[in-house]
Structures are given as C-alpha cells and as structure tokens.
Symmetry: C2
Subunit: 147 residues, 2 copies
C-alpha cells in the first residue's frame, strides 16, 4: 500500500516537472509513517534515521512541493506573527490567504457549532473557532468566481 502511494507520488512529482530524488521519497515515506499532523522537525528527525546527511532545507523544500501538489496542507496559520483579538464578543473570522487580513463575522449560527458527543467525552472544550479562508474583495484573483 505504501508501495502504491510512493509510485503515485513519484508520478505526480514528474508530471509536475519536478525531479524524483531519494530525499523526496524519504520525506514522503516519513510523512506516511509519522502520526497525524507532523511538524517539519518531526519529519526531519524521522528521515535522518535513514539519510543522516539530509538537510533541513531539503525537508522544507519538499514540504513546499507537497503542499503545491496538494499531498499535504498546512494546518492553522503558523508562520505569521501572533495576532490579538480585541473584541470580547464571541464571533468568527474570514482570513484572506493573500493579504492575511482578518475580518470579523458575527453570526449566531456559527456559535452553535458543537463537538460530537463521542469526542466531547474525551476532550474538554474551552471554546471553538470557525475560520473561513479565501480571498477578500481586494485580493480576489482576476478570473476567479465567487460562489
């Protein structure tokens, strides 16, 4: 099964005009093995067991390629600076992928989102956040449709 996946990945790398290297395959395999939501550093440590010479830079670049190929996607918006909420009223946000602008969304329905019972039993909820990500009016890409 991992065999099949690796084959898929190498094809997708080549089809996108990228070279297939042992380092890239190793990063992908580490990705499959490592649990759910790895950090770059976790992947790096994993890969280094078999490729002690691999550089952190290569892992970063490979992850960038994998994001581009939509094999993985970033969770949360990490690399940015911390931002602070000044409005104490419960509300949610739209986050523009392009300009990072965060806009408030007040909508009672979003506040009623609930964790499924089964999960709630083992997770103590302090709050929740709904974030819509996409493009704001200023950054909307020229030919894009808005639906």
């Amino acid at each position: 099964m991992v065999e099949r996946s690796v084959r898929n990945i190498t094809d997708r790398f080549r089809q996108s005009g990228r070279k297939v290297t042992p380092q890239r395959v190793a990063v992908f395999e580490a990705l499959c093995e490592g649990g759910g939501h790895p950090t770059v550093d976790q992947i790096y440590r994993e890969v280094r067991q078999r490729f002690p010479m691999i550089s952190l830079n290569t892992v970063y670049q490979t992850m960038e390629a994998l994001v581009d190929l939509k094999v993985v996607s970033p969770v949360g918006h990490s690399l940015e600076a911390a931002r602070y909420e000044t409005d104490p009223a419960p509300h949610h946000h739209t986050v523009c992928i392009a300009c990072k602008r965060i806009t408030d969304v007040f909508d009672a329905a979003l506040g009623r989102v609930k964790l499924p019972r089964a999960v709630k039993d083992r997770f103590q909820v302090v709050g929740h956040r709904v974030e819509f990500y996409g493009y704001c009016a200023d950054c909307r890409s020229p030919g894009a449709t808005n639906r």
Copy 2:
C-alpha cells in the same frame, strides 16, 4: 469613552496586583486605535510615536498581561511550528491548549457550516476550518469539569 476604558484597564491592572505604568496605558490605547486584529509589531510602531524609548519586550509583556486579564485573546495558534495535514478527507480538529496535540474530528455537520450571505458577497471562500480548543484527556486539569 476611551477615557472610561483606560480607567477600567488601570483598575483591572491594579486589582490583579500589577502596576500601572505609562507604557502599559499607551499599549492599551494603541490597541483601541489600531484596527481589528493587530500584531505586536503594529502596536509597537503605534506606541513608539509617543514613547520612542519603549522596548519591544515591554509591548510583548504588556500583551501577555492583557491576555491574562482577558482584555485581548490570541487569534490562531501562531508561536508553534507549522503542522501539516496528511489526510485529504475534509475534517476538523481539536487542539489541546497544553500539549498542542491535534486530533481529527470527522462530523458531517461541521462541513455544512456556511458563511452568511452578506459576507459571502465580498469574500471568496476557499474553505473553512472548525477548531475546538481545550484540553485533551491526558492534559485535563485536575479539578476541571468536562461539559
């Protein structure tokens, strides 16, 4: 009105056993003036117009105090390393405040969350994310109740 707010803040600082300093008041005022979801750097630039000697460190510490007093709250989970999603199926997450563990939540209802029409008209939605934050079973604080 800003007068009133400043008074409130100075009281809350003192009531929590913290000292009120001109720097702290200035950070709070910058917070009120600056738009919606400022970064530390934006606040720093703003405050420096009146207090050119203030250090970035002081702004960080003041923000930490304001978070503690629940005057502001961090948006997103920034300071951590980037994490990557390996499961392409649409789903959502619980994020443990303590150990940062991210766990998948599959629930069709969460996928049906919709932006209000009025907002949708000016924001091109690419996707949305529902994150429940709180404490996982391992990190649940001793006396806390789970509801």
